[in-house]
């Protein structure tokens, strides 16, 4: 069951990721990204991160991506021209480099990761809102506060940037 769900949503995620990169229209890319996020949320749930899964959907899909879609609609961004200003050589070289990159990462992961038992749903119960909240407000209190300041700065920055005359 775990494996089934993993393969289902992993393939959805990869498919959506490929779609993100290859689609010419920004809206299509954005929806693909939402697909990735949704399937990742399921995988988080599988890994015992129920709070983080909900936060993933609320924050990423529900807020950040809405903002993206909003901006795309606002700018009425059309489809990207197909003519990539890039030689075939660069394209294939790039793909090769990326493939090498992925292969290397996979190799390193396989080689360096200690052998542990596989993921079973429900084996880790620590990702509840209670645990996260407790940790967040004790051990990670300072980063939390700093992050809130960061958000405040971001709000101000966004407002200043989006004002009419710049």
């Amino acid at each position: 069951m775990t494996a089934l769900i993993f393969f289902l949503f992993a393939s959805i995620a990869v498919f959506c990721g490929i779609s993100l990169v290859t689609q010419t229209h920004p809206i299509a890319s954005a929806l693909s990204l939402i697909g990735v996020m949704g399937s990742l949320a399921i995988l988080y749930l599988q890994l015992g991160g129920e709070f983080i899964a909900a936060a993933q959907v609320i924050v990423y899909a529900g807020a950040i991506m809405v903002l993206f879609v909003f901006v795309i609609m606002l700018l009425n961004a059309g489809a990207e021209g197909t003519s990539l200003q890039m030689s075939n050589f660069a394209k294939y070289a790039g793909i090769f480099v990326l493939a090498a990159f992925l292969g290397l990462i996979s190799f390193v992961i396989q080689a360096m990761l200690p052998k542990t038992e596989g993921v079973v749903f429900g084996a880790f119960q620590g990702g509840t809102a209670l645990n996260i909240g407790r940790k967040l407000f004790t051990t990670y209190l300072l980063p939390f506060e700093v992050t809130s300041v960061l958000i405040l700065i971001a709000i101000l920055g966004a407002m200043v940037l989006a004002r009419r005359e710049i």
């Binding site: 809206i27 299509a28 929806l31 939402i34 129920e50 709070f51 909900a54 936060a55 959907v57 609320i58 899909a61 529900g62 807020a63 809405v66 903002l67 879609v69 909003f70 609609m73 606002l74 009425n76 509840t128 809102a129």
Partner: protein, 396 residues
Amino acid sequence: MDFFILSLIKAAIIAFVLLTTLAYLQWIERKVIAHIQLRVGPYRVGPHGLLQPLADVVKLITKEGVVPSHVNKVFYLMAPFVAVALALISIAVIPFGPQITIGPVTTWMQLTDLNVGILFVLAVSSVGVYGVALGGWASNNKYALLGGLRSSAQMISYELPLALAVASPLLLANTLSFREMVNYQSGYWLGFIPRWNVWPEILGFVVFLIAAFAETNRVPFDLPEAENELVAGFHVEYSSMKFAAFFMAEYANMVTVTAVATLLFLGGWQPPFPEPYSDFVPILIFAAAGVVALYHGLHPARRMDKFTFPATGLLFLGIAVIFGVSLLVPVLKTILMALFWFCGKLGILLFLFIWVRATLPRFRYDQLMRFAWTFLFPLSMVNLLITGLIVALSSK
């Protein structure tokens, strides 16, 4: 595989009831608004227009589904599907009643329970904006686009006070699960005041309701589909079942938010009176309704009333009898009482939605945004702070 079969049965029941309710909700809305405006509303199809929803469904299905030539086809077709799917999905975590045991099976009156059920509802509702936004954009029509843009901005803005208003009862009950939230609200102060969150959280409840109106794009926040300026907003290019899907999504969202409001603030299926008295309330209500209907049947104003009133009266009396019988059968009593109180609260809130629609004018767009950011958001923030303070003080 017991789990699957059980879930399947529950899903089938809930889907059937929900879809029927949605269809009839529309009938109720038209009827109520008509009566408020001193009209009679749908009257032709069936007695008192009771079969009108059926006729509407048939009409919408059989109409030609026009796909305009200038639209972005994939997204155009996807949008209503997304809207309705996301609207229906959150019903899955809404509990309607307590745990029940029928024969060998023990289960909750709920499709599934999540530890983070409230977060789930929030997540799904926050994603729900895509249906409207996408439909508006894919229509390739400037009115539709404006509607979609407005809807996304509006929903993002009102999600904040909504989430903050939800956070206050969460703080009180210290849980994210709907079941525990309802359990927390059981019992009575001084023996007769129900321990519902609405009393300490009256401010949060009001904020939640207002934000819920905005989230569901209902009057007075129905700017995405403002008829007089945007023709019909995001669904101007939609027809037949695709149009119906948007409609259904709106009503489903209404049911969801009212259900959440009931669960968070109004004690879910907990009766408002202590145990022995609350058992007789439904019997009394239905019996009284039946008696009144029978009485009217004795003095018919129209020819038809000679049959319809007694029939309705007998139906109500029958229901009253069922409730009476249920007092003797514990299983039935649990189910019926929970359903009665839950649906009663839900119905009152839904009536409020309709009532407001018939009463209030629409906001202007800048007023809408200013209201959200400069009034509702600070208010909910203050409410959350006060709640936090109270919780901190009372927890020693």
